[in-house]
């Protein structure tokens, strides 16, 4: 497992970005677009566990940061789903990816043009609704009353902070209507356990990581 830098396109210019890689110059090379926001934290270990298994099966993997997330120095509030998709397309090109996997909300910004799998994809509107609701619940505990409509309006006008993530108006506008593009969908049911993004804390599940890696290996090598 090697951390690598890659040139990530921004709204203006490019900047060096971080990616986690298993790269042995092999023929099969999978770009993984990570889950988004709080789910990114809860799914990170599982994602890397799947990468370790794919590496063992002879498949190179790369897990780039989306601009404004993880180790990225870019401000999140200037990002949009379109910019994220362009960044992932640039990462696919830079790392010469042959295949793509989008995890949960990552499925919303997988780049076009390569054979693609979406693991447990989620619609932008659904993930946004959960984040708005979390904010409403925590505000209520603090004695403030907020509504989804008002928060959404505020987000579309001025941007909004949800679960610690500062999102700009254009991000909200694009994200609320976003659905995953065409891809081979891997439903949670076939992994034989419950989705780790549902848990309150980050977890791991060897059997599920085995199952997802096996499905991807068969798909990539066939």
């Amino acid at each position: 497992m090697t951390p690598r830098a890659w040139p990530c396109p921004l709204a203006v210019g490019t900047a060096e970005a971080h990616a986690l890689t298993f790269d042995d110059f092999r023929r099969c090379r999978l770009l993984i677009v990570p889950a988004l926001f709080d789910e990114a934290n809860r799914m990170r270990r599982f994602t890397v566990e799947v990468m370790r298994r794919l590496d063992g099966a002879g498949i190179d993997c790369v897990l780039p940061d989306l601009p404004g997330t993880n180790e990225s120095l870019q401000p999140l509030e200037r990002q949009t789903p379109d910019l994220w998709r362009e960044a992932m397309a640039a990462a696919a090109k830079h790392f010469r990816a042959s295949h793509v996997l989008g995890i949960r909300g990552g499925a919303l910004v997988t780049p076009p043009g390569l054979p693609t799998w979406h693991y447990a994809p989620v619609k932008g509107g659904s993930q946004l609704r959960t984040m708005l609701r979390a904010r409403i619940l925590s505000s209520r505990e603090a004695g403030r009353s907020e509504s989804q409509e008002d928060l959404l309006e505020q987000g579309l006008t001025h941007g909004i902070e949800l679960a610690g993530h500062r999102l700009g108006p254009e991000f909200i506008r694009q994200f609320q209507a976003l659905a995953p593009a065409e891809a081979t969908v891997i439903d949670q049911d076939v992994l034989g356990g419950s989705g780790l993004w549902l848990r309150a804390e980050p977890g791991e599940d060897r059997a599920q990581a085995d199952a997802l890696a096996a499905i991807l290996t068969i798909g990539i090598k066939s």
């Binding site: 984040m131 979390a134 619940l137 509504s147 419950s194 848990r199 309150a200």
Partner: protein, 87 residues
């Protein structure tokens, strides 16, 4: 009518709380849920509500969410059954 609401809800709680298969079968109406599980923060509760909406095909108004709703398995089940009946 909505006889599967009970089993669907047990399955959702199994998934969200990371329970072992079958563990939720032992939930009774007065089994405490979130009062006894302080690690569930607002994000986790929000995720649970979205999951309930998706799998039971209902819409939960934020005004309907209070401490009482999530106090016990019985209160959550009664709420979900009433929602499905009126859907």
């Amino acid at each position: 009518m909505n006889t599967d609401t009970d089993s669907l809800l047990r399955k959702i709680l199994t998934d969200v709380l990371g329970l072992k298969p079958g563990q939720a079968d032992g939930f009774a109406a007065d089994t405490g849920l979130f009062g006894s599980l302080p690690e569930l923060d607002s994000m986790a509760v929000a995720g649970l509500l979205t999951e309930i909406e998706d799998r039971l095909d209902i819409v939960i108004d934020d005004d309907e969410v209070d401490g009482e709703l999530l106090e016990s398995f019985g209160s959550l089940l009664a709420f979900a059954e009433a929602k499905r009946a009126s859907a």
